[in-house]
Symmetry: C2
Subunit: 263 residues, 2 copies
């Protein structure tokens, strides 16, 4: 039987969700991963599959259907590989993880919005907004899972959804000097983040990779777009990020050249 | 065994989703509906249940748990009342309806954003944006269900999610003279809307109720907020909307008084 094929972008948090889920299920090798270069226009054969949309990941099922949206693909993989369930099966427990999952959009937007901000005057408000997001997660976890570290007994659906964001937000530590304050207000969510980001199934990226690839995002250019004066995106596949220098930390001043970024 | 209790707002489309689902399942009488007056501050006992949030509907389960978010509540009801399934059970079909369901947020925002707009200069762009939403639904239905009228054989999950919006958007016909053009571009989505809004399980509201209750929204005041010079919201329970006159159609000129609205 042919395998499903996942078209993905290496540093994309939505794509990583699927890798985590498949790893938890021991099925990582039963899906073919095809890497798409975000810095190039989408190829025609891919646009034909998606009927024109450019967002990734998409999954092509074994019988040739196309599924879009990471959460929809997650559910599909959960359904076709039911062994080692990742989603909760009890209706109330499933509702709890679904409520937490629905907080993902605001959390993502706040973090990426802050990263891409170019106005130093807005930094403090963006930091406050980010702290508010963490506080909401903290409150939810205290209400539904005070003992921790995960929402339920094991790393599960909610962790699969959020961990890629926790790892991407390492770019806020680097480019915005953000650190979650060490006080009780955030203790429960910090415990969740620590346990989730260190879980063996979620080791698809590192702080170094995130910081290097997301430099252009930090300068306001998302989705592989080119900044003025540059010939290559920091999201480019070559040169490999391992061999590039760490980018300048201060995103509000100097704009690094291709050469300074090792591109 | 005690029943679940649903705290809801009568004209709220998200609440109507739950009524439709329960009606499809023949379980409408097994959930207690408690009406909340959107024009009054949320009572303390309700805020205690929600841990401070004001969005409705919420469901209190038979054993006293609180579930927020209409789509999460829908899934919970689908899980505890599995007979007469409304969601698809096949993984690919479920993925198709989940993809369509995820288009609900943009569709809702476009329709309500246009209704609440107060700047005549923006009308044409808002109309275009609305048409674009319908075109996207049309394309999705043509790709996945060309024969129609529903996404699958029967009125199901996707129809439960979207029909309350189709019925609310009657306010655009009244206050914005919006009509979906009678051409092939929108033929498939029009067929879907017609079949969905006329389904026996989705008759919880009428155009007259929607138009009368949403007058203040059309003037820019959402969620039961009071407009200047008014003492009562058009969302008020009393006087009953049946006995009120139809509001003025031109929302960009005269602002109707309480008396003119029969309040």
């Amino acid at each position: 039987m042919p395998h499903p094929t996942l078209y993905h972008i290496p540093a994309c948090p939505f794509c990583q969700r699927l890798e985590i889920l498949l790893t938890l299920k021991g099925r990582r090798d039963e899906v073919d991963f095809k890497v798409i270069d975000i810095t190039q226009p989408r190829p025609d054969w891919l646009l034909k599959k998606t009927r024109g949309t450019t967002a990734l990941p998409i999954l092509e099922t074994a019988d040739g259907h196309i599924i879009k949206e990471s959460l929809v693909i997650l559910q599909y993989l959960e359904d076709i590989y039911p062994e080692r369930p990742v989603a909760q099966r009890d209706p109330w427990r499933r509702a709890v993880e679904n409520m937490l999952t629905r907080m993902d959009g605001d959390f993502f937007s706040q973090g990426y919005g802050w990263l891409m901000n170019q106005d130093p005057a807005r930094r403090e408000a963006l930091r406050e907004g980010m702290l508010n997001q963490y506080a909401q997660l903290n409150d939810f976890l205290l209400a539904h899972s005070p003992a921790g570290p995960f929402l339920f007994e094991e790393f599960g659906w909610a962790e699969t959804v959020f961990t890629p964001f926790f790892q991407r937000f390492w770019f806020l530590e680097y480019y915005e000097d953000f650190a979650l304050p060490m006080d009780a207000r955030y203790a429960r969510v910090r415990e969740w983040i620590t346990a989730s980001t260190s879980h063996p199934a979620a080791q698809q990226t590192t702080q170094e990779q995130v910081v290097k690839l997301y430099y252009d995002y930090a300068k306001g250019a998302g989705n592989g777009a080119l900044l003025p004066g540059r010939s290559k995106s920091s999201m480019a596949f070559e040169p490999d990020w391992h061999v590039r220098p760490w980018p300048p930390k201060n995103k509000y001043e100097h704009s690094a050249t291709d050469a300074e970024l090792g591109l």
